[in-house]
Symmetry: C2
Subunit: 140 residues, 2 copies
DNA sequence: GTGAATGCAAACTATTTGCAAAGGT
DNA sequence: ACCTTTGCAAATAGTTTGCATTCAC
């Protein structure tokens, strides 16, 4: 729960709701939608409201503890960041999200792109979507 | 307007609205939000409704003519696909979107990930965000 | 003429904001 | 006790759906 300590030193209060959200994210195998975080967080903080979940997720994103997951459809989810600026691999079947160490592999590509385009690249997002071993029977 | 021919052979009708949306996307330098496509498409089809824009965008995505752009915040945009499954580079300042030929560079990484995780990777999304030459004066 | 496509309004989903009450320090 | 944080309700933003009308073929 390093994040809780970090938040405390940043001047935030250690509330039940925040602890509950962090705990749910920690326990999750993959990514969760805000609504899922909410219903699960009630386990540890029965009175928690969905609004607080949104606010806490925003706080955790801001502090780099979790990351937003984007899909081709409209749904957004959140997953814990394991490796600084790693990329992620999402299973289309069971939704588990695995962080993959990645920036290094992209360095040459990014350098090449900067040279060719004159852009200064500030950030990048690499998302691989597929099926994990257990979900490979699922049709396309 | 290859896409219009394609749609026709797929059995879709060549309507004013569809032509207007395609034309706006073609003329755009970068990505556009549905609302922007709508207001600009009125130039060519004054009666077009936002709903039709959404429906047409979905059709064009389905046929691989455009791609959804995801940002860290909630806004989704659409940009033309120039290169089959290329990745894209988005300018944070002026929003221009450049397609970069890319799958090749990721092949080794994807192969490695498949071996290490047992996943079958079906799709990937690489988005580089930065500032183009003209926008580099903009603060972070 | 016929059925696909459209536009409108209304429904819906996801997220954010205002504000009084509760809780952490 | 003070001031942040919370929960509720309501507001908002983005997108989708139902249905009568319009338009491409």
């Amino acid at each position: 729960m390093q994040i809780m300590t970090d938040l405390k030193s940043a001047g935030y209060r250690l509330t039940q709701s925040r602890a509950a959200v962090v705990r749910i994210i920690d326990e999750a195998d993959g990514w969760l939608r805000p609504e899922q975080v909410h219903s699960q967080a009630k386990k540890y903080c029965p009175s928690i409201g969905l609004v607080t979940v949104y606010r806490t997720l925003a706080l955790l994103v801001e502090h780099g503890y979790i990351r937003r997951i984007h899909f081709d459809d409209k749904c957004h989810g959140y997953a814990r960041v394991e490796l600084s600026h790693g990329h992620h691999l999402v299973c289309r079947g069971c939704k588990q999200t695995i962080e993959i160490a990645g920036t290094e592999d992209l360095k040459p590509l990014m350098k090449q792109v900067q040279n060719e385009t004159g852009f200064v690249i500030e950030d990048h997002l690499l998302e691989l979507v597929g099926l994990c071993r257990e979900c490979q029977h699922i049709p396309t």
